[in-house]
């Protein structure tokens, strides 16, 4: 549905996007995960035709010119900034955008109802946007992108500044849209959002894609080992006997054991815990830490996503 090949974009000395290539399949929810300033918004603007690449090519649904009217009709965008007219009501905002896309009459009415219902703002439809909470504005920002029934949806950091309740509602909305077959490009710097919503995720840093795969694929490739941390029951064995029985149970001895506390890195953490139980080693506490996208990001970039 969307194909980008070797995209480059610079602003003066700043190379915002450097040789970016990706392909987003029809009906897929694709995540661009990266820290602030990684080039995610520039990528969206390039794909949407809002910016001209210095070099490279974008193809959307077979068209190499995303600025063509018929291509634009297929795209909905919810920019990172709240692109709404605060003086107008929720309904006026959505209705205005629908009219710009040529909707009128019963079709316009139907789509306005759909958008406001999706955003959960039917009861507040006549209120000026300026009176809305951050979460309500974000929901309306999404609804405004959908009024013209696009096939492709670009969501640029759609949950910034949103309360947990509104965030969950937005997630539900996005899942519903994905289930209807919409192609979604979702940029975020929240790894849990990418994990929860996206079929595939590209990790961006300094205008480049460092890795691109399904979430579990990324974790498998770049996440490293899971960690098992446990406190052992204080039995009659001394430290040396404890260590040898543990090594016999899990089949290796590259673990840490200090004052009855075990730390074990493992590819198969659940299986190792089962082996400990079978060997009669009692556990007072147990904690399993699986690698996630945060670990992937840390391993790929050398820093944490939340350090920003």
């Amino acid at each position: 549905m969307i194909q980008a090949t070797e995209l480059h974009k610079s602003f003066g000395q700043l190379h915002a996007v450097q040789g970016l290539s990706l392909e987003i399949r029809r009906g897929e929810t694709f995540g661009l995960l990266g820290a602030n300033g990684a080039g995610k918004s520039t990528t969206i603007n390039l794909l949407a035709g809002l910016l001209q690449p210095d070099s490279g090519q974008v193809v959307i649904d077979g068209s190499t010119d995303p600025t063509r009217r018929e291509v634009r009709r297929q795209i909905g965008i919810a920019p990172q900034s709240l692109a709404l007219y605060e003086e107008l009501s929720a309904e006026e905002n959505v209705r205005f955008l629908g009219k710009l896309y040529g909707l009128s009459g019963s079709k316009l009415k139907e789509r306005v109802e759909y958008a406001l219902t999706l955003a959960g703002l039917v009861d507040r439809r006549k209120d000026p946007v300026a009176q809305f909470s951050g979460g309500m504005k974000r929901r309306l920002n999404l609804a405004a992108a959908l009024v013209h029934e696009p096939k492709v949806l670009f969501l640029d950091e759609p949950t910034v500044g949103v309360d947990p309740q509104s965030r969950n509602r937005l997630f539900d909305n996005i899942r519903e849209l994905a289930s209807q077959g919409m192609t979604i490009l979702y940029t975020t710097h929240y790894m849990e959002e990418a994990e929860r919503l996206c079929d595939r995720v590209a990790i961006m840093e300094q205008g480049k894609i460092l890795a691109l795969d399904r979430v579990d694929g990324l974790i498998d490739q770049y996440g490293g080992l899971a960690v098992v941390e446990a406190e052992l029951k204080n039995g009659h064995l001394d430290a040396a006997q404890q260590r040898s029985s543990l090594a016999a149970a899990v089949g290796k001895d590259d673990f840490l054991l200090e004052a009855n506390k075990l730390r074990l890195e493992s590819k198969e953490p659940l299986e190792d815990v089962a082996r400990l139980a079978q060997a009669g080693i009692g556990l007072k506490t147990l904690r399993l830490e699986r690698p996630d996208l945060e670990t992937v990001f840390l391993n790929l970039t050398g820093r944490r996503l939340r350090d920003e």
């Binding site: 692109a83 107008l88 040529g102």
Partner: protein, 429 residues
């Protein structure tokens, strides 16, 4: 076209929710027109006349006749009472002039009426008080007073009964007067006797067309155009100026709205819609043009309705308003193109357009400016806006005469459009 109209109407809807913008576009110009209109003498009446405090100490038929004649003068406005409603005394009249409330005062002394008609006795002098620095007004006042007094004498010779009585009275006074040279006395008695006889036999109807009733040998040539091309009230000056301020409000409001579309991110939505760049610019321009046209038409309508502002050339007025709205819309585009933030736009507007409005007659009427400044004012769109509007409302300019100011406004607008579109296209997202 529908999309352009949709965009323009969205901007109009946004404008109706912005109280501050509405104040600057609609209310401030109206307040400006009213404030400076009333400050400059209001809606006609005694504006433009010499304002004269009068004190009639004589209270005779003669003094009343003199004041009645003066009241009929187009050049004078007579006031018998102060603002407080008390009749003027010599002192209060003098104070009113000293404080600048009135131009001059005139005191008709006691006994004026007794000698006013006399051919022989010297009359009691009228007392005229005026600031010596006001030489032009003093000269004009002298002329009006002398004309009025002469006119009183003239009246005697068109009223035979009154003239005979005065001739007889003068004859008796000459006979009784000591110390007149006998030869002179004889001549005077002969003249006054003959005059008495002549007036005694004369018919009033015959004298009305005699040389006695003739005005001075001065042929008055009414120059109607000059007469008509003066504002009849201060509001005919302040309302055209106020249009400039209304349009100035439009410039800032809509230039800021374009910049806000960019800074708030809504421009991304517009750019992602099927609207072309030209349609976005056209929609923005249309909204500004419509509001500018409306505010100008509304102000002129209110001026006409409330203060009787004339509209000598309705087609010309429509042309002037449309030209001015086009001009200011173009300037709005240029301003939006230059300014990247809302603050930059309002700052640039204040720095560039405020001085242009000032030198163009937006605050002080062009007629009150020195010649060199009137020349400099040619660079200001405000000047051409005011010239075009005044040309249509009270100068009575023909459409051909309207072409220059309207053409200049159109040219400025076109240049503004070109600059604005060029600069705006460089900063699309």
């Amino acid at each position: 076209m529908n999309r352009i109209i949709t965009l323009a109407f969205k901007d109009l809807a946004v404008l109706t929710r912005e109280k501050e913008a509405l104040f600057w576009i609609f209310l401030f110009p109206l307040v400006f027109a009213l404030f400076f209109g009333f400050l400059s003498g209001g809606g006609g009446g005694d504006r433009g006349k010499l304002q004269l405090a009068v004190v009639d100490e004589d209270q005779s038929d003669g003094s009343r006749a003199l004041l009645d004649k003066l009241r009929k003068s187009d050049s004078l406005a007579l006031y018998d009472e102060s603002v407080a409603g008390t009749p003027f005394t010599a002192e209060s009249a003098r104070n009113a002039v000293r404080r600048g409330n009135l131009t001059a005062f005139l005191i008709v002394p006691k006994g004026y009426g007794e000698t006013a008609d006399s051919f022989w006795q010297p009359g009691k002098p009228l007392e005229l008080g005026i600031d010596p620095a006001r030489t032009a007004e003093a000269g004009m006042l002298d002329g009006v007073l002398m004309q009025t007094i002469f006119s009183g004498l003239q009246d005697q010779f068109t009223d035979p009964k009154r003239a005979k009585a005065n001739a007889d009275k003068a004859l008796a006074a000459v006979e009784a007067a000591p110390g007149i040279d006998p030869e002179q006395k004889k001549l005077l008695k002969g003249f006054l006797g003959d005059l008495g006889k002549f007036m005694g036999n004369a018919k009033p109807q015959g004298l009305e067309h005699s040389p006695f009733a003739a005005d001075a040998k001065l042929k008055k040539v009414p120059v109607l155009l000059e007469e008509e091309s003066k504002p009849k009230s201060a509001f005919e000056v302040t309302f055209p100026s106020s249009v400039t301020w209304g349009m100035y409000g439009c410039i800032i409001t809509f230039a800021i709205s374009i910049v806000s579309e960019r800074t708030k991110g809504t421009l991304i939505r517009l750019r992602m819609s099927p609207l072309s760049w030209a349609e976005i610019v056209a929609g923005k321009g249309l909204a500004c043009f419509l509001v500018s046209t409306f505010v100008a038409a509304l102000l002129m309508f209110l001026g006409h309705l409330l203060f009787g502002i004339r509209v000598e050339n309705l087609t010309g007025l429509a042309l002037a308003i449309i030209s001015a709205a086009f001009c200011y819309t173009g300037l709005m585009m240029a301003l939006a193109g230059f300014g990247k933030t809302e603050k930059a736009v309002s700052g640039s507007a204040a720095a560039v357009f405020m001085p242009l409005a000032m030198i163009g007659g937006g605050m002080i009427p062009l007629a009150f400016m020195p010649a060199w400044m009137q020349t400099v004012s040619n660079i200001s769109p405000t000047k051409w806006n005011i010239v075009a509007l005044e040309g249509a409302i009270w100068r009575g300019n023909s459409l051909a005469e309207m072409l220059l100011p309207c053409g200049v406004l159109m040219a400025i607008g076109a240049a503004g459009f070109a600059l604005g579109v060029k600069f705006l296209s460089r900063q699309r997202v």
